[in-house]
């Protein structure tokens, strides 16, 4: 227990042990975040053959940055575990939401009627208009006026 208290920057009465040390940690975090931003902008300029690599790199760096912010700026590293648990649960459920949505969309066959016999042609659907009583009638081109 005693070793654990040394890691926490507060003592029992809530005083900070080492405010200057804390400030140094925050500055290092900021520098790391800015360097990661520079890296992600530079990586976006490289065109990989597979465009998915760019997305993976960008989102991985974003997640590292988000972790740094949560751990150091939002004090999760010294906080009660329950707060970290709530934060992790939020991201976990977002992850489930994302994952299942994408599994659904990417594994779905193109929608076609099951009793389809002939291939669907791209012929335009017949254009209909409504007459004065509300019934659909095929639109006929207006007869050319006689010269």
């Amino acid at each position: 227990m005693s070793t654990q208290i040394e890691e926490v920057p507060f003592d029992e009465s809530g005083h900070l042990h080492d405010p200057k040390g804390e400030a140094r940690v925050y500055l290092k975090t900021l520098i790391a975040l800015l360097i990661l931003t520079a890296i992600t902008v530079a990586a976006a300029g490289i065109h990989f053959e597979n465009g998915a690599i760019n997305i993976v790199i960008a989102l991985t760096i974003a997640s590292i940055k988000a972790t740094l912010v949560v751990l150091f700026f939002m004090h999760i590293r010294h906080d009660r575990p329950i707060n970290g648990l709530i934060a992790a649960a939020g991201f976990l459920f977002l992850g489930i939401f994302l994952m299942f949505s994408f599994i659904d969309v990417t594994s779905r066959d193109p929608l076609q009627p099951v009793n389809l016999k002939a291939p669907v042609t791209n012929a335009p659907a017949p254009v209909t208009t409504l007459d004065s009583s509300g019934n659909a009638v095929p639109a006929t081109p207006a007869p050319a006026p006689a010269p």
Partner: protein
């Protein structure tokens, strides 16, 4: 007192988790539409200026640092530093919104607007709904994030006024801490918005 502080913090974290899920729904929608209109989305990305996005990212990251330094100042009973860092954070928020205003007005002039307001000419797939969909998501997500920045400015100003009255000390700085958490979450959301909108191409 300590127990109260813990309870308040749990409540704040629960609120932040709902915020993550609020934006999460929009992120999922954006991802699904990107699957549906891949070519249009890549083309629409090109209309966003990467340098402005990077500038705003830097400004917000810096403001997160000034915020955490403010919380540290409150913990160490340094009223002057607390007010100084809070004002610095507010200035950063206004710089962010200024850049955003410049970007929005540029989009407005080019007709790069959401839904049926979209009137941009010269797209490579004329008539596709993909472009308007992209800008619907762009304005919805950055707009909702911008509203969060505005709310944050209000909260920071309120905290700065109270700090100036000397209401906070190492014994009581809960509002400073909670507004700090909120401000970092706004930063966190931008950390994901920036690569998704400005970098992926």
């Amino acid at each position: 007192m300590e127990q109260q502080f813990d309870t308040v913090k749990i409540g704040m974290w629960l609120f932040l988790a709902t915020e993550v899920l609020l934006f999460g729904g929009l992120f999922v929608g954006f991802g699904l539409m990107q699957q549906r209109y891949p070519r249009e989305f890549v083309e629409a990305h090109e209309y966003l200026q990467r340098s402005l996005g990077a500038l705003n990212t830097t400004v917000l990251l810096f403001s997160s640092w000034t915020m955490v330094m403010g919380v540290l100042a409150a913990k160490t009973n340094n009223k002057k530093r607390l007010v100084f860092f809070l004002i610095l954070t507010i200035i950063c928020a206004f710089i962010f919104l200024g850049v955003k205003y410049f970007e929005y007005s540029h989009k407005y002039e080019e007709g790069l607007l959401p839904g049926h307001f979209y009137s941009h000419k010269g797209d490579s797939i004329p008539g596709s709904h993909g472009y308007a969909t992209f800008f619907s998501f762009y304005f919805m997500m950055t707009g909702l994030h911008g509203i969060h920045i505005l709310v944050g400015i209000g909260l920071l100003a309120w905290i700065a006024i109270r700090a100036n009255r000397g209401e906070f000390s190492e014994a009581y700085y809960t509002p400073v801490d909670l507004v700090g958490l909120y401000w970092h979450l706004v930063d966190l959301i931008w950390i994901y918005l920036f690569p998704l909108y400005y970098l992926i191409s």
